[in-house]
Symmetry: C2
Subunit: 422 residues, 2 copies
C-alpha cells in the first residue's frame, strides 16, 4: 500500500511525540507499506512566528510572512527525518519547493495548482520514507507561499491525489469525527465513516477536525481520508464517497453541530424590488465580510425583511454598513443580535427521508426553544436560536435522531474501500 | 555603488537590533546605493537547533541537519525584509535555493560552486533591497546545504564577487581588525587596512573576525571587504589586495596573535629515512585530525625528532595514534605537552625586511620566555612557548614592533579603492 500520513502540530509537539510518530511510521514500513508523511509546525510555533512579525508591524508584508512561517514546518520535517534515520529507518525531508507543490501567488492563503510527483516517487523507490513539510508551496516565480490555517491537511490530500495513494491518514488530537461535540453531548459517538458532503457540512458548521479545502480536494479526486488519533489507537473515521449504511436505515443524519460565533442582523421593511439584496450584500463583500446564513421572508405588501448572520468579530462593522445601505434604500430599521447560536443537523440520509425538518423543529419546540431563522441545504438543516439553548438543542436533537451511543450498532463500511495500487 | 552588507548573529539578535540594521540599509538607499544584505541566524539560534537535533541522536543525519539549520537564516531574512517594508523601504528576502547558490553536496560544510546573479539583479532593478539568507545553498539535486560555521561571510563575498559589487561590508561585534587582541594587549590598535594574505594568516591564527574561506574567496576575486561594527560608527578595517603604507615603512608587521588551543606532540629518535613523516601524518589524516605546525629537527646520526601541534580536543587521539606509529617505525619516545601557546607575528612588510625573526626571538628572550618550536611562512612567524607566557609575549612583541597606539599615525589607504560600477 501507498499511505500518506499527516501529523498536526500537537502530534509533533515535542521530541518525545516525534519519536512516537516515527515508531508508527516504522510499523507501517515493516508491514511493507510505502509511506509519505506530511507534517505541520510544532504546536505553538506558527503563532510564535506570527506574533514576532506582528511585533514589528501590524500588517507584515505577506510574501515575507510566508517566508517566516514556512520555517515552522521545515523544522518539524527535519526533526522527524533525523529521528527516523536515527532509528535506522531511511528517511528524507522535502520542502514545498523541493517537491514542487506549485500554488498561485496569494500569499498567506495560496491555493495548490499542481503537485509534481517525480521527486517523491524517486525517493520512495529508493526505499525511503518521504517527510514533506505541510502548509507550504511555491508560486511559478519560485516565491514561498503558505496555504492558510490547517493547510497541511490540504497538502496531504493533494499529495495523496497526485500519487494516487491508497489512503490519506490524518492524525490529530481527536480519534475521529463525532456525531456531536462530546464536550456538549456525552452520548456523542465516533462515526466509523462519513461522506465527503457530510464532512464538508460538518466542517463548515464548526467541527474543526479537517480543513474544508482538504475535504473538497479529497472529494474531487476521490481520496479516502482516515481521521485518527495520534495518541490513542483506534479505527478512526473514514471520510469517503459513499457510506453503506447496512440495516441502519433509521439513521438519517450523521451529526449535530452548533456554532456560537455568529451574530444576526435584521434589516426590516426593505422595499421589495429587484436589486435590493444585491446592494446590501455587495456592500458587505466590498468590506471582506463573509456572510453565512441569509434569510429573506416573503414580502408583506411592498416591504420585506432580510436577516443574515456573520461572525461576531465582523458584527459591528456589518451593522454599520447595513445601517448606511438601509438609509440609501429606504429600509426602516436595522437590528443586531449577538445572543444567538446556530444549531445544525447534517446527513446525506435526509435526502431520501420525509419529515426530517419537521422532526427537528418539533424537537426544539418540545424543549421550549424558539427558532429565529431557518436555512436548509440538501444534506443540512440549520436553525438560529438563542445562544443559551445551544447545548440543550444539540443533546435533544442527538437523541431524537437516534444518534445516542446506546441506540446504535457500531461499524459501517465504506464502499470506496482500500485497494492496493496496481 | 553596489554594496553587499553582511550582518552576523549578534547584529540581528533581536527585533530592536534588526530595526537598527534596517535604518543603516535605508541610509545607504537614500544616498542612492543598491544594497544586497546577507544575514546570519539570530544569535544563539543555530546552537539551539543543533542541540535539538543532538537530543535526538549524537550523530544526526547531515542532510537533515542542514534542512534544520537553514531555517535560522530564513527567519532572520524574513524578519529583516518585514522590517524594511514596514519602514517603506521595498525589500525582498531570497533563500539560497531561490538565489541559486549552488554548492557541492558536502552537507554541513559545503563549498560554493556558483552563485547565479539573475534573480538578485532583477530584484535590484525593481529598486528593492535584496535580503539573502547566509550560510546556505543547494546542491545540483536541489538538496539544502550549509557552508559551516561563519559561512555567511563566504555567502556575502561570493555574492559580491558574482555581482562585481564595489565593496562587501561585514558588520560584526568588533569595529575592525586589531593589531592584537585588545583584551590581552591594551595598546592594540584597529588596523585601517590589511592585505588578504595578512588577514588569512591572522584568521588562521585565531583572530575570529572573518571566516578564512571568505578571505580566500575575496582574494581570488579581488573583492574589497570592509569589516565594521554593527553597533558603533567608525571607519572599520579594509581588507584588500595591497596596502599603501605611506611613510610607514617602519611598520613591518600588521598584528600579533596567539592561540592557546593547541597541544604539542613530540616523537623522539625517529629513524631518519624517507617515508617516515608520511607514515605519521597519513595516520593522523586518516583519523581526520588537522595538524597545524610541523617541525622536524636536523637529524643526529640516523635519528631525528618530529614535533607537531594539534588542537587540544584532538590531542589524546593524536597521542594514541603517534604511539602506535612510533612502535611500528621504531621511534623511541612520544610526549604530549598541552601546556603551550602559539604566538605569531603577521605582516606582508616582513618580506622585504631583514631581522624580523631575530627581533622576535630576542624580544621573547628579553622577557625570559623560552621558545619550544618555530615555524615561518613568507608573512608570518610563529613560536610555541609555555602557555602562561602567551599574554606577556603578545604585549612585548606588540611594543617591540612599534604597534602600540601612541607609536603610530592613523590612516593608511588601500590601493584597490572603491570605484562605481560602469
Amino acid at each position: 500500500m501507498l499511505v500518506v500520513q499527516k501529523y498536526g502540530g500537537t502530534s509533533v509537539g515535542d521530541l518525545e511525540r516525534i519519536k512516537n510518530v516515527a515508531r508508527r511510521i516504522i510499523s507501517y514500513r515493516e508491514r511493507g507499506d510505502h509511506v509519505v508523511v506530511v507534517v505541520s509546525a510544532m504546536a505553538g510555533e506558527t503563532d510564535r512566528l506570527i506574533s514576532l512579525a506582528k511585533t514589528i508591524t501590524k500588517s507584515p508584508d505577506e510574501r515575507e510572512l510566508d517566508v517566516l512561517l514556512t520555517t515552522g514546518e521545515q523544522v518539524s520535517s527535519a526533526l522527524l527525518a533525523i529521528t527516523l534515520n536515527s532509528m535506522y529507518c531511511s528517511a528524507i525531508s522535502l520542502q514545498g519547493h523541493q517537491v514542487r507543490i506549485i500554488t498561485d501567488s496569494t500569499h498567506t492563503k495560496a491555493r495548490i495548482i499542481e503537485v509534481e510527483k517525480d521527486r517523491i516517487l524517486a525517493e520512495l523507490q529508493k526505499g525511503k520514507v518521504v517527510v514533506v513539510s505541510g502548509f507550504q508551496g511555491v508560486d511559478k516565480n519560485d516565491n514561498l507561499t503558505t496555504l492558510g490555517r490547517g493547510g497541511s491537511d490540504t497538502t496531504a490530500v493533494a499529495i495523496a491525489a497526485a500519487l494516487k495513494a491508497d489512503v490519506c491518514e490524518i492524525y490529530t488530537d481527536v480519534d475521529g469525527v463525532y456525531t456531536a461535540d462530546p464536550n456538549v453531548c456525552k452520548k456523542a459517538r465516533r462515526l466509523p465513516s462519513i461522506t465527503y458532503e457530510e464532512m464538508l457540512e460538518m466542517a463548515s458548521l464548526g467541527a474543526k477536525v479537517l480543513q474544508i479545502r482538504s475535504v473538497e480536494l479529497a472529494k474531487r479526486y476521490n481520496v479516502p481520508i482516515l481521521v485518527k488519533s495520534s495518541f490513542i489507537d483506534g479505527p478512526g473515521t473514514l471520510v469517503c464517497k459513499e457510506v453503506t449504511k447496512m440495516a441502519m436505515e433509521k439513521v438519517m443524519i450523521s451529526g449535530v453541530t452548533f456554532n456560537k460565533n455568529e451574530a444576526k442582523i435584521t434589516i426590516s421593511k426593505v422595499p421589495d424590488r429587484p436589486g435590493i439584496a444585491a446592494r446590501i450584500f455587495s456592500a458587505l463583500a466590498d468590506s471582506n465580510i463573509v456572510v453565512d446564513i441569509i434569510v429573506q421572508n416573503v414580502g408583506r405588501g411592498n416591504k420585506t425583511d432580510i436577516t443574515y448572520t456573520v461572525s461576531r468579530e465582523d458584527a459591528k462593522k456589518a451593522l454599520k454598513i447595513s445601517e448606511r445601505v438601509a438609509k440609501e434604500i429606504g429600509a426602516e430599521e436595522v437590528t443586531l443580535d449577538e445572543d444567538i447560536a446556530k444549531v445544525s443537523i447534517v446527513g446525506s440520509g435526509m435526502m431520501s427521508h420525509y419529515g426530517i425538518a419537521a422532526k427537528m423543529f418539533s424537537t426544539l419546540a418540545q424543549e421550549g426553544i424558539n427558532i429565529e431563522a431557518i436555512t436548509t441545504s440538501e444534506i443540512k438543516i440549520s436553525c438560529v436560536i438563542k445562544e443559551k439553548y445551544a447545548e440543550l438543542a444539540v443533546r435533544a436533537l442527538h437523541s431524537a435522531f437516534g444518534l445516542d451511543k446506546e441506540d446504535i450498532e457500531e461499524e459501517m463500511t465504506c464502499s470506496s474501500s482500500f485497494t492496493t495500487q496496481p
